[in-house]
């Protein structure tokens, strides 16, 4: 495993109390693999990613338990200076909002070149040449002419390409993309996702794709981990999960997507609201919204059950996963 997150716990201290954002997350990603982490806002998917990158705001955030193994080394035990060496060179992150993630007063060439100057000690001139190469690689037309342009002179899709180029600059082993296409238009989304998938193949990187969009995931992911209230509720290879979800939350999400090929009557809707992280329901966090909930769900938090037929690739945090799997 390239990266393994084990039993990670993160809390936020706020004015109104302690919000438990991540409550024992386990997931892993291999070289050349795409793991999609799927969840709604407040599910802890982005917080987990920030903990992996070491860019969590602490305080108010606090990692209260677990380990993050990168190439076998527990990142949480490293000092900040040692961790800094990982960022950019070993793992990189792509954010949702490319405009605010780029420095508006530096040309994109300078920002891309910066990576080589700082990490590789290159001269300005060589760095500029590498910047052009990178822009070519993410298919920005006329890279040579545009290398001196500023971020605001690029369109949204192009800016997201520049972010990708920046993440790729030092050829990291792992890329975390946090909702990389959410802010883009559908026609541009497709371009950017295709580019990401292609680069991942080319460079044999691990890719963690954080998203709330089941459709995007189906197009590119190898595995899916579904998060709810700071926990993984189901994790499986992409084909299995769409064919037969083993958790009622996953099933509800799939059923509630309006589909192009089905002009439906009433859309299926998961009742209720995502839980308040200050006050997560006891037992299974999903129980107040679950159509299959029984008494045991209100008292006992489900462990991650191996879904049978088991080959170790599929788990579900539902006491009644068999029922869910078989409809």
């Amino acid at each position: 495993m390239l990266l393994e997150v084990r039993d990670l716990h993160v809390e936020f201290r706020t004015r109104d109390g302690v919000a438990k954002a991540v409550n024992g997350v386990d997931y892993g990603v291999d070289e050349g693999e795409t793991l999609a982490v799927l969840g709604e806002s407040g599910s802890g998917k982005s917080v987990t990613a920030q903990a992996i990158m070491g860019i969590l705001d602490m305080p108010p955030g606090r990692i209260t338990g677990g380990e993050i193994l990168f190439k076998g080394q527990d990142l949480l035990r490293l000092k900040e200076e040692e961790r800094r060496k990982f960022r950019g060179a070993e793992m990189a992150m792509i954010f949702q909002d490319a405009l605010s993630s780029l420095n508006p007063v530096l040309s994109v060439g300078d920002q891309l070149g910066e990576m080589f100057v700082v990490h590789r000690g290159m001269s300005r001139k060589d760095a500029r040449a590498r910047a052009v190469e990178l822009m070519d690689r993410v298919r920005i037309p006329a890279a040579k002419e545009r290398v001196r342009d500023y971020p605001h002179q690029f369109s949204g899709g192009m800016r997201q390409r520049i972010m990708i180029a920046m993440a790729l600059a030092l050829e990291p082993a792992l890329i975390i993309a946090d909702e990389p296409t959410t802010a883009l238009d559908v026609t541009v989304q497709a371009q950017v996702m295709a580019l990401l998938a292609e680069l991942r193949r080319e460079l044999n990187m691990g890719l963690i794709l954080i998203t709330h969009d089941l459709g995007v995931v189906a197009d590119v992911a190898d595995r899916i981990a579904v998060m709810y209230a700071g926990r993984i509720v189901e994790s499986a290879p992409v084909h299995d999960i769409y064919k037969a979800p083993a958790h009622p939350y996953t099933r509800g999400l799939l059923d509630s997507i309006p589909r192009l090929d089905q002009k439906g009557q009433e859309l299926y809707a998961i009742k209720g609201l995502p839980p308040n992280l200050m006050n997560i329901p006891p037992g299974c966090a999903f129980n107040p919204r679950c159509p299959m909930a029984r008494d045991v769900c209100r008292t006992d938090a489900p462990p991650l059950y191996d879904v049978i037929p088991s080959d170790g690739t599929r788990v579900s945090a539902c006491h009644f996963w068999t029922e869910c799997l078989h409809g």
């Binding site: 709604e40 806002s41 037309p141 369109s155 949204g156 899709g157 192009m158 238009d185 559908v186 026609t187 541009v188 989304q189 497709a190 371009q191 295709a194 709330h212 969009d213 089941l214 459709g215 995007v216 995931v217 189906a218 197009d219 992911a221 992409v238 084909h239 769409y242 064919k243 037969a244 979800p245 509800g252 999400l253 799939l254 059923d255 509630s256 997507i257 309006p258 589909r259 192009l260 090929d261 089905q262 002009k263 439906g264 009433e266 859309l267 299926y268 809707a269 998961i270 009742k271 609201l273 995502p274 799997l325 078989h326 409809g327």
Partner: protein
């Protein structure tokens, strides 16, 4: 056909670009909307789909008179509302209401839910006598699926989906005939989007509403719309009944939009043809000559740069009566099936036999 209650013709909105500190001179214009025709019948839902910057939100604002059109007319029951002001405008506003995209900015944080939903009655006191208002507001809360006892709470105590329900209740307060919904679910969580769509669906039947439903998401529009218009750079490029647009699109832009919608089915990803457009939408300050889509179109030829294609049934389909015979502004319109044909059952989703 039922008589249309809203007729839009030749709608144009240009935002001037100016320079100068005290005395401004115009140096150009953002052509946000550049000639749009629409009709809406009673009880119907018209979906307007397009990417950001295509002018769909500006159209919505002009429909509810938040922006003045540069040219064109918007006729509500035969009366051009763009020329109205004062009392007459106020009474038309009662009948055309809006639901906003962002439930976080569309509710005044300093007002209680009761004041927010009751505000329409303050502005139009003839609708509800003062003593009756509290009860009416509570009824509305109940209608949109919120606890009527929340009347004294503030918006920040609610989640996004609940706030959007409050926004819908405010839109319903004056019992309008038309509701213009500008991307009403795009800011919400996936599991909550379906709830709000279902609510809008139910209210349409209950109150006999007509909707203009604006979205960038084709799949949601299909779910709720009877007719669909696809917008690109300030113009409608294709319009028709929903089956015509979704199953028999003839404009290349519609085809690209449809094929770009991610399908939640990993099986489909291998044998689905994706049309990936190159480049981005051109700037609305500098619209390409001829067909405005030609810079991104794989079919573009010389004719496309010279001649503006009209929004009409393309010549090759004019004599047919099939679903391909609907308005499409393309010189080289041809049918192309992008969405896989409808399946008899939905075992795709439920999966297991």
């Amino acid at each position: 056909m039922v008589e249309p209650i809203l007729e839009v013709s030749g709608l144009v909105k240009h935002f001037p670009l100016t320079q100068g500190i005290l005395f401004k001179k115009q140096v150009g214009a953002v052509k946000a909307v550049d000639g749009v025709d629409l009709t809406l019948s009673k009880g119907e839902t018209l979906g307007i789909v397009g990417e950001s910057g295509c002018g769909k939100s500006t159209v919505a604002k002009m429909l509810v008179n938040l922006e003045q059109p540069t040219a064109g007319s918007i006729k509500y029951r035969g009366e051009d509302i763009t020329k109205l002001s004062g009392k007459a405008l106020k009474s038309v506003r009662r009948n055309i209401q809006m639901v906003f995209q962002d439930p976080y900015t569309s509710l005044n944080p300093r007002m209680t839910v009761g004041d927010i939903i009751g505000e329409p009655y303050d502005i139009h006191p003839e609708v509800a006598p003062k003593g009756d208002r509290r009860r009416k507001v509570q009824e509305l809360l109940d209608v949109v699926g919120l606890n009527p006892e929340y009347i004294n709470r503030y918006p920040h105590q609610f989640s996004g989906g609940q706030r959007q329900r409050i926004g819908i209740a405010r839109g319903l307060a004056l019992r309008p005939e038309i509701i213009v919904a500008d991307e009403p679910v795009s800011a919400l969580d996936v599991s909550v989007q379906a709830q709000v769509i279902n609510l809008l669906d139910r209210l349409q039947g209950e109150f006999g509403l007509s909707y203009v439903f604006i979205a960038h998401d084709l799949s949601i529009v299909r779910h709720i719309s009877d007719r669909v218009g696809v917008m690109y750079l300030g113009r409608i490029v294709e319009t028709g009944r929903d089956a015509e647009i979704y199953d028999h699109p003839t404009h290349p832009y519609t085809q690209a939009l449809l094929s770009a919608v991610p399908v939640p089915d990993p099986e489909a990803r291998e044998h689905r043809e994706r049309i990936i457009l190159f480049g981005d939408v051109p700037s609305p300050t500098n619209i390409p000559s001829g067909c405005r889509f030609r810079t991104r179109c794989w079919k573009a030829q010389e004719r496309c740069a010279l001649e503006v294609p009209l929004l009409a049934v393309p010549a090759e389909f004019r004599l047919t009566t099939g679903p391909a015979a609907h308005d499409s502004a393309c010189h080289f319109a041809e049918e192309k099936q992008v969405v896989p044909p409808e399946e008899p059952t939905d075992d795709h989703v439920n999966g297991v036999e």
